[in-house]
Subunit: 385 residues, 2 copies
């Protein structure tokens, strides 16, 4: 197997892109990544996306995006794994390059939701849950997050206000990210007063669904030096699944797929949580951020929220998370999120994160979770410095 | 790179499965394939599917199917490339095994359309076309096929009745396929009298969309002998794309992606059209069958229909096609079709096709086309005998 490097990144601003279609967003990110990488050939394109058919009037997305991005005839596919579709695309790109089946692979994550009415988008997003046992009964993704959060509070004795630290951190970090959706800080007071969405999850607790596209160029590490002085190595790529339905899980408060894929990733990279300099996790809601910290080995069970309360998740803390705003403040363009995480990690590892730079960042952990934990895909990236 | 073999196959009957859900169909095919292969471990699952989110209330399909098939925790993804989603899943499975990233990979194709009203299914199927330039104007997939057929008739001087040979052949071959949807022969007279769908395509010209699931087990060829005495080698795997919109193509009557992927496949396998013993192609309509024969090198341009009229596509002909009924008579469970093609090719190459056995079958060509040719994925399979 070959070592794989990321040699190019591209992203659009996350937000409500009324003036751009899905294919335009995707092409913008792809062309930016190709330009950044300075490659002249693309062998393979993977497009991570969840809802193009339901809310953006397009399936057959691989070929559609390839053509619009100037890559007509290039082999291309859409990969779907709910909110983890982005990392799923990255994972396929890694497999193709590591295995020697392709040299220059573009992976793109894209989602366009603002062309459809909001209730349709929420109903479509619930397709990430168990269709027969959860969605059929009217449970939305955020409602399932609320069930988990309520149980977490009950088991470990937290108040709703204790979760504020996650959102405060995310919003503070987004201020300096020009691609973020919400570039304004929030306070704990604002969090406490925010309108309830699904008790105990309020408006400042949950991540906003949005439009956006991000892209990466992968190639074998041995070829990377021809294109960039700052190749970022993919030190590990691993994934696992779990039951979609919460009632089928052994434990409501443990992300088994996240834990399995993180463990495998640490093993592959030969490092442990203590070596990780920052962690881009899937903070679709604050409780998911807490559970991710626990599943990836940064906190004991029930201690994820405490880690946040103690300031250890900030840029200066023990394990900085959501360093460019996370899902909460950068925004959550569903199937694109996993690629945004990777793009942001590359920026950190190239030491180009400006005011948000994690000092001496060398190992970045990114974990993209689908649904309430049914899919978890973990990558470990190693910077050039 | 490692040589890859297919060591297990499974399929459900194609048809209207009112009593079974999507996940049940998928699990049935997967469990049959695992049983056939006698494997005890699965490393990775790819699910080829186009419309689970639009008409079967489920995205996040990889994890959903993995769990229901008894493969909880196994890494799993949904792959979409319109009607070529099945072969797209096979292609990813091939990449993973060939590259050494996984040893035992299950690839499944599944589609469940009968839970949604028929007009919804047709509208969803049109998501395979260019959403902004074709579907937005009300063009369905079959209407685009009709445009192509009309032009083909005009350019090459055929009558509508000349296309009957494709459907007659497909229906005759389906009679002996217990998994086929339409197990009855049809005559040229019946074809001539069939109700028009979109002129010049009539009811007996176009393939029926249906429910179904099929699955394969892949592993490295060197390990295959431990599981079966009849491993089928994947001698080539190749894919290409083209513009989705017909008006963007250089030539309305040439399937460029099909030609490109077939050429590459021949090169990889080290054989040519003259060596191929049978060809499972994407006969979504008869004109697509003709264009596929031309793109894959079995007929000069404009001669595909003549090949059929002269009886060369039957089981005894120069290049047998749709040997178990093809899309027309086995049925077209959209995202599953590519895997049905592979399953049927394996049956032929194992010499287990009974009355439909192609004599001395050794090289099988399978080509799965998405939309009107926007994606084309070609595999060449080599039998053990």
């Amino acid at each position: 197997m070959r070592e794989v490097a990321i040699i190019g990144i591209g992203q659009t601003k996350v937000g409500e892109h009324w003036e751009k279609s899905l294919r335009q967003l995707a092409a913008e990110a792809i062309l930016a990544a190709i330009k950044d990488a300075k490659i002249e050939r693309v062998d393979l394109l993977y497009v991570g996306n969840m809802l193009s058919g339901e809310v953006a009037d397009q399936e057959h997305l691989g070929a559609a995006v390839a053509d619009f991005a100037g890559l007509r005839t290039v082999e291309a596919y859409k990969i779907e794994a709910a909110c983890a579709s982005g990392a799923a695309a990255l994972r396929q790109g890694y497999i193709a390059v590591a295995g020697g089946l392709a040299d220059f692979v573009v992976v793109c994550g894209v989602e366009k939701v603002t062309d459809a009415p909001n209730p349709d988008v929420l109903a479509a997003l619930a397709l990430a849950t168990d269709g027969e046992y959860e969605r059929a009964h009217g449970l939305s993704l955020i409602a399932l997050n609320a069930i988990i959060m309520r149980r977490y509070m009950h088991e470990y004795g937290y108040k709703q206000a204790d979760f504020a630290a996650f959102s405060v951190n995310a919003h503070r970090n987004a201020v300096n990210n020009p691609y973020a959706m919400f570039r304004r800080p929030i306070t704990e007071e604002a969090f406490a007063k925010a309108r309830m969405v699904v008790e105990p999850i309020n408006l400042l607790d949950s991540a906003p669904v949005a439009d956006g596209a991000a892209a990466l160029v992968l190639c074998p590490l041995v070829m990377a030096k021809d294109f960039t002085s700052k190749p970022v190595r993919i030190a590990a790529s691993a994934a696992a699944t779990d039951a979609l339905a919460l009632h089928d899980r052994k434990d409501l408060l443990f992300l088994e797929a996240a834990c399995l894929s993180a463990k495998k990733a640490y093993e592959l990279a030969g490092i442990g949580p203590q070596d990780v300099d920052f962690f881009e996790l899937t903070d679709a809601s604050t409780v998911m951020a807490a559970l991710s910290l626990e599943a990836a080995g940064f906190a004991e069970r029930g201690e994820g929220v405490r880690l946040a309360m103690e300031g250890e998740i900030t840029l200066e803390g023990r394990i900085p998370i959501s360093t460019m705003g996370g899902l909460k403040a950068r925004g959550h363009p569903i199937g694109a999120t996993g690629i945004y995480q990777a793009v942001e990690a590359v920026i950190q590892l190239r030491h180009e994160a400006g005011e948000n730079q994690v000092r001496d960042a060398h190992w970045g952990l990114i974990q993209n979770i689908g649904g309430t934990g049914g899919t978890a895909i973990t990558h470990i990236l190693e910077g050039p410095d």
